[in-house]
């Protein structure tokens, strides 16, 4: 397969592309089980983690994935760019290009930054999360994890619960799950629903209890304290009461329900400690699978000509 020049969001991938990535990830997963967890596939390739936002898990996951494929990894923890201070995003990218890197994995607080990079420089661009826009590798690893947990994504009833409006994970997951045939319901207070949500083809509910008995997957999104300061809900106690996943709600969910979370979890807010430790919560599998999926993505982007 000849990969796209950049991976900016899920939209650009066909369901066949996604299928290919998931199958390739399955093959790569075995590498992580070996005594010597390394193959020479991307030997001589250089990838850089260009992170404008602190993110330990995504950065580490990409770094492990790249290293297991023998690529050289540079980490560039950039200061938040602005016109007035520091080097501009474009200059940083041009510098990396001049150093001959083959791929730039970019995390940025500004939506569209990876897209702009792909217009400005030659190296392959992989979006590791941009503002409220997209987080395609998270969505791919979520698909992969769900497929492993349930066998098939098609027909799955998935509830995405929480701050849909500000979540790039929600946007990418919504696209990815829908594309692979799942039935998605967005759950949260109206203040955390994005504009134009009705055009995304998902059901919308403001009542978690109404949704819970009829869903196969409960995907709990992280809720950030600053949303309370913005006046989007009264306080965390009320949020947790109305939209948090606790043992009581788990009892009303189907017995084989799968709980997912992009991490890191806010125990006691969107997910109670008991549910966080429930075996049906596959959050640690998601982390493990992240490496295999990112290996597949790197291979797709850099393995060809």
């Amino acid at each position: 397969m000849r990969g796209p020049l950049s991976l900016i969001d899920i939209d650009q991938l066909s369901s066949e592309d996604i299928q290919w990535i998931l199958e390739t990830a399955e093959s790569f997963e075995e590498v992580s089980t070996r005594a010597i967890k390394k193959v020479p596939t991307l030997r001589g390739k250089t990838v850089v983690n260009l992170f404008y936002e602190a993110s330990t898990r995504t950065r580490l996951s990409f770094e492990v994935a790249a290293k297991r494929l023998s690529a050289d990894v540079l980490n560039f923890a950039a200061q938040q760019s602005s016109v007035s201070k520091g080097e501009s995003l474009k200059d940083t990218a041009l510098t990396l290009e001049a150093m001959g890197v083959d791929a730039i994995i970019v995390r940025h607080s500004s939506a569209g930054a990876p897209h702009l990079l792909s217009l400005w420089v030659e190296p392959r661009i992989i979006n590791a999360g941009d503002g409220m826009h997209a987080h395609p590798t998270q969505a791919l690893l979520d698909l992969y994890s769900l497929r492993k947990a349930r066998g098939d994504v098609a027909g799955c009833r998935v509830a995405l619960v929480g701050d849909i409006a500000h979540s790039r994970v929600a946007r990418s997951d919504l696209q990815a799950f829908s594309k692979m045939g799942a039935e998605v319901t967005l759950v949260g207070p109206p203040t955390l629903m994005p504009a134009g949500v009705e055009r995304f083809g998902a059901k919308v509910s403001h009542d978690l209890d109404e949704v819970i008995p009829d869903c196969d997957v409960l995907y709990m999104l992280r809720v950030q304290l600053e949303r309370q300061a913005e006046g989007l809900f009264p306080d965390l106690r009320e949020y947790s009461e109305l939209y948090g996943l606790n043992s009581d709600r788990m009892r009303r969910a189907p017995r084989d329900v799968v709980v997912m979370h992009p991490g890191p979890m806010n125990r006691g807010v969107e997910i109670s400690a008991e549910v966080a430790d429930d075996p049906r919560n596959i959050v640690t599998d998601q982390v493990v699978n992240g490496v295999a999926v990112r290996m597949a993505v790197l291979y797709m982007m850099l393995g060809g000509d």
């Binding site: 990969g3 010597i36 060809g304």
Partner: protein
């Protein structure tokens, strides 16, 4: 392959070089040579290189089981992760590798359908060594068609077929292709790199 021929529309002369009984006899002989050289089937591990090497490995293991009464572990190796031409062509498909035992101290028999430049065998050896430190690695192939680019030689050969570089040798196996046969195509469709096909 047939679809490819139809698509390219290049007529070529195809010569049948092995029939089903020939292949059966060749694999029989290879199995016996393996047992002879390794003094039985102890500490043997047979690993087929995807795709057709896998079926050959299973057949050879079957013969050994009949003769020695020993179930030799059979593994599957995908060498896409170890290729030396990454970045020069579209990414080859990566499929799963399954090594059923610890290879350290074992005699590993790598099985492939065609030995050509030797690059697949090199990749396969690198892959095996990543799983441990075998006592030895041996190579069994159905066809050796020459034109080596690396200092590699097969320990067990079904048939030597002299070829020109541009010719193509096609191995068909019952499990995958419905029939057992080896054909030599004397004319290569233009623009198709013959090395793509090696070991497939």
């Amino acid at each position: 392959m047939c679809a490819l021929e139809e698509m390219t529309g290049v007529s070529k002369e195809s010569v049948r070089v092995m029939e089903e009984p020939d292949i059966k006899r060749a694999l029989n002989r290879i199995a016996h040579e393996i047992m002879e050289k390794n003094r039985g089937a102890q500490d043997l591990c047979i690993i087929g290189i995807r795709t057709r090497g896998v079926y050959m490995a299973e057949r050879i293991a079957g013969i050994i089981r009949e003769v020695e009464g020993v179930a030799v572990p059979v593994g599957t190796l995908d060498i896409a992760m170890y290729r030396d031409d990454i970045g020069t062509k579209p990414s080859p498909e990566v499929r799963s590798t399954d090594i059923p035992c610890d290879v350290t101290g074992m005699s590993v028999i790598l099985v492939d359908d065609v030995l050509f430049t030797g690059r697949s065998a090199r990749a396969a050896m690198d892959a095996v060594i990543d799983f441990g430190r075998p006592h030895s690695i041996q190579l069994a192939v159905l066809i050796d068609r020459g034109h080596r680019e690396l200092p590699i030689r097969a320990d067990y050969v079904g048939k030597n077929i002299p070829t020109s570089r541009t010719e193509k040798v096609r191995v068909a196996l019952r499990e995958l292709d419905g029939t057992d046969a080896v054909d030599r195509d004397s004319q290569e469709p233009e623009g198709l790199d013959s090395s793509v096909r090696e070991g497939s």
